[in-house]
Symmetry: C2
Subunit: 149 residues, 2 copies
C-alpha cells in the first residue's frame, strides 16, 4: 500500500478534526468510535501528531485533541511526512540507495515523474479545504459511512 495504516488512521482523524474545526477538543474515545479505529492505536498516532505540532491536546474532563494552527494549514503531504516520513518522496522505486540522475536505475526517469504526481496530489489542498468539500458533498470517512461530519 501507498500509505501505512498508521498514516491512514492519522489522516482520517485529522479530517475529522478539520471538519469540526470548532476550536473544541475532541476526545480520542469519541474519535475512535466515530471512525472505527482502535482507541489505543489511535492514541499512539495522535500523540505523534501532537508532538509534531500538527495537533494540540488537553488532558482531563472535556479534554481531547484539536488541530493546531499549524495543523489547520497542513496538507495531506505534511501529514504523510509526519507519520510515514519522507521515504515515498525520496526513495528509488527499486530501493537502490544513491539512485539519482547521476547514476539512475532503469526506472528512475519514469519514477520521479510519477513520484512528483503523487506528491502534487498530496500537496494540492489543506486538510481544512478537503474537510469542507467532504461536508458539502457528503463524502465518507468510514467503511460503513457511519461518520456524518
Amino acid at each position: 500500500m501507498l500509505l501505512s495504516k498508521s498514516c491512514v488512521y492519522g489522516l482520517r482523524a485529522a479530517l475529522y478534526l478539520a471538519a469540526k474545526n470548532d476550536g473544541e477538543y475532541h476526545s480520542l474515545r469519541e474519535m475512535s468510535e466515530e471512525l472505527n479505529i482502535s482507541f489505543h492505536f489511535l492514541t499512539k498516532i495522535l500523540q505523534q501528531l501532537t508532538s509534531d505540532g500538527l495537533m494540540e491536546s488537553y488532558k482531563g474532563p472535556n479534554g481531547g485533541v484539536k488541530l493546531s494552527e499549524k495543523g489547520k494549514k497542513a496538507t495531506l503531504f505534511d501529514m504523510v511526512i509526519a507519520i510515514d516520513g519522507p521515504g515515498l518522496f525520496t526513495q528509488c522505486a527499486l530501493g537502490l540507495p544513491g539512485c539519482g540522475s547521476q547514476e539512475p536505475c532503469p526506472l528512475h526517469e519514469s519514477w520521479i515523474d510519477t513520484r512528483a504526481s503523487i506528491e502534487n496530489m498530496l500537496r494540492r489542498t489543506t486538510l481544512i479545504k478537503i474537510a469542507e468539500e467532504g461536508k458539502a458533498k457528503h463524502f465518507r470517512l468510514t467503511a460503513e459511512g457511519k461518520f456524518s461530519w
Copy 2:
C-alpha cells in the same frame, strides 16, 4: 514503500533476465550474487513468477530460469500484479472498502487520477524494452553498480 521488497527483487531479477534474453537458463545462484539478493529469498520469489508463467525454470546442471514468451511481453505492471497483487491499482487511498464514485472518500477523485498515473507508468513498456535501454545507457540494477548487463 510503493512496492514490496519481494516485488522489487522480482523486478530486478526479471530485468536481469530481460537483459540477457539469450534463451539460456540462468541459475539463481548467479543471479543472487550479481544482484546482491539473498539466494533463498530470490528462489521463493522466482518460484512464484515461474508458477505464474512469467518465467520458465529447468532443474539440474546448467539449469536455472529464463523469461517465458509471456514474460518477454510482460510489463512492470504485470510483474507487480504477479507479486504484490492488484491492491495498489484498486484500493482506496484511505483503505475504505467499497470506496468508489458511488460513495467516494474525500480523496477518491484525486487518488484515482494519481493511481492511474502510477499504473500508466508501469504499463508503458515491456521488461525487454527497459532492459535494452538499461544496456544502452548503463543504468544500474544494484546498489554498488556491480551488475554490468
